[in-house]
Symmetry: C2
Subunit: 401 residues, 2 copies
């Protein structure tokens, strides 16, 4: 086969939006950090040891044996009925009393949920309220739809709702929605406090601005009592809820979901139809079979035990090795924590030196929607065994001295 | 679980594009025709009897046994290396000499290929040249990106290239691309002639307009000698080629691909990253394993034998039962043929009567991008056994008398 590249005299007439759609800095960083000898806190990867591989293998075998032809065929855009029912029941269990299978749309990961929500709401120039810092791949989506980002601050209790209110009040146009990772934020690891949940909903209701609640990590709480998701407190159809099996079963499956009011659900179905017709039927059926027979709660408990210990190990190592002038979040769940380094430290420079010491993290800058700050780093604790966490943080601490 | 719907006082601030994104008429029709007693020529479904269920089951079992953790994990946006290599080799075999794995992007079905291409090229108001009639779900995508459609005519040799040339010459703006199903068109079943392929490329080159060649059916030729895809004749990086395993292995897998110049490939990767991070890793690895051990050519031959016989049966039944004032295409491959009914016939009315007789088809109107005509129907022959084809066409013929 020839690998000769075609000549490219064409001046491709790309859309304006392409300028806003950078390649994810993280995905590029991951390519550098893939060598096994690097201790990587860079990715947002679940630990492979907790994937339910045997149970998935069994579920797939059953799907092919008992419903092979249906599983291989085209299917409805909305998703596989029994899976939508399981999801709705699980949401009810998490406090979202009004969750109903007929308003669950199965998506190709929750990333697709973000993309579809952006597609149905955003015209070029529309405003979106985001937390600063914010989940990077959500920023990519919103930039791709040429949104104007209104970045509001956050602290250890999550998004500052007073700033949301001020920002909406003073905005030239009503924002199309507020995007928030309410539980165990990416990159910060923080959780929106109960009082702020109430306040955020009140502000959203007053101004008629929907909230997109992205909740991929909500099941993974290691400390403290669960807080009801924003969707559980919403009585007005304001909250569009997104979640996924990526952090509980497997990200490779690319099975997530949205839950919303019937009107938003209808719009999302239309957008999904054009985007990819429907999500992989084999995986949807395998997930439904697995969940019907499998002790999901026990499985999640096991993940929580593993990740909780890793979180504790990382926090201890930070205390021990990081300079006193740095501070970090102490997440109650999720995969990440967020370190503020001394003001003069440049995380990108540290990254270059760290890679030479075979340890990796993600510099914080690309997570900022506005007011970019250079002295932050995101650390993932789910994907490294405790002994490597200790060693990696020690190496980083030495570099910081 | 409560199925109470949340109140919806919110006046959702939807994007303009939503107005252009109807629910697919076909997918709605399919819901009516799903009852097993209906003889349906409506869907574009492969025959479930030809799905390689046992081979897929084996490939999945091997993936879980030998590479379970990697298969369940996040992966690169570009796709699984061995699958990209297989695809490039297959493309070379189909005459696309310059096909190279590093420019193959694995997509979630070729529908996602259409969506990603639209996303990287189309600003609101941009023009796209399409054939009239045109693949419905491509029209949905282009409308969703608020494109202006320039619809050119077609005959039994496919898209009329003279009309393409005139349309581009007289357009107020350079179209962003030409969209074409070059082999065994949906809905028409027709194939672009070799002479027109040369001419279309020449026109595209002269005006610097890329061609999006959507080729989901190209492997399924039942008669005549294969024609090289447009991508095989392209030396300038003008053709963006889309295809899929949906019609050869299984549509439920949602695994397709794009092949393009390096520059377009890079833009598509950025768009895909934001859309769904990457395509299902388990399916990609299972497909790669299957294809490494499986006689794909023999499998495709088997599909061709089954579908070819169904095509022949449908053509014979049309001769026998349809009124002399109707005419139809005689496709050399693919899944569909296209019937022009007497001028005064309204296909939508016929559909209502046909459903009462338990036979279904898709009225042609929604496939028209402009100049909508009401006396056409699309008939699918791949999804019904020959005896049901004969009976179904007989019932339709009786209704037409």
């Amino acid at each position: 086969m020839s690998t000769e590249t075609a000549k490219e005299p064409v001046n491709y007439p790309f859309a304006r939006r392409l300028a806003g759609m950078g390649v994810s800095a993280i995905r590029e960083i991951l390519k550098v950090t893939e060598q096994p000898e690097v201790i990587s806190f860079a990715g947002g990867l679940p630990a492979p040891e907790v994937f339910p591989v045997a149970a998935l293998a069994r579920a797939h075998a059953e799907v092919f044996a008992e419903e092979g032809a249906e599983a291989c065929q085209y299917s409805t855009t909305e998703g596989f009925g029994p899976l939508r029912e399981w999801v709705a029941k699980r949401m009810v269990k998490r406090g979202i009393r009004t969750a109903a299978p007929e308003r669950v749309l199965v998506t190709s990961g929750s990333q697709q949920g973000i993309d579809l929500v952006a597609k149905i709401f955003l015209d070029p120039g529309d405003a979106v309220v985001v937390e600063n810092p914010c989940y990077l791949a959500a920023l990519q989506v919103f930039n791709g739809f040429e949104a104007k980002l209104i970045a509001v601050g956050s602290d250890d209790d999550g998004m500052k709702v007073d700033e949301v209110e001020q920002a909406i009040e003073s905005a030239a146009q009503r924002p199309k929605f507020i995007y928030i990772v309410s539980q165990f934020h990416n990159p910060k690891g923080t959780t929106l406090s109960h009082a702020r949940r109430r306040r955020l909903l009140e502000v959203a209701r007053r101004f008629g601005v929907p909230i997109v609640e992205d909740d991929p990590y909500g099941e993974l709480r290691y400390r403290g009592a669960p807080l009801a998701p924003l969707a559980a407190l919403d009585e007005d159809g304001l909250v569009i809820y997104l979640s996924t099996f990526s952090k509980t079963l497997s990200p490779g499956m690319r099975v997530g979901w949205t839950h919303s009011s019937a009107e938003v659900f209808g719009a999302l179905v239309r957008a999904k139809q054009a985007a990819d017709l429907h999500t992989n039927t084999i995986q949807q059926r395998a997930a439904a079979r697995l969940l019907a027979s499998f002790d999901f709660d026990a499985h999640v408990e096991r993940i929580k035990t593993v990740y909780g210990a890793r979180r504790d190990r990382m926090l201890r190592a930070l205390e021990e090795y990081f300079p006193p002038a740095s501070r970090w979040t102490r997440p109650d769940g999720g995969l990440f924590l967020w370190v503020e380094l001394p003001e003069a430290t440049r995380a990108e420079e540290l990254f270059e030196r760290a890679i030479r010491e075979r340890v990796a993290f993600v510099p914080g800058a690309p997570f900022f929607a506005g007011d970019v700050r250079r002295n932050f780093m995101r650390l993932n604790f789910s994907n490294s065994p405790p002994e490597r966490i200790g060693e990696g943080i020690k190496r980083l601490g030495q570099l910081l001295k």
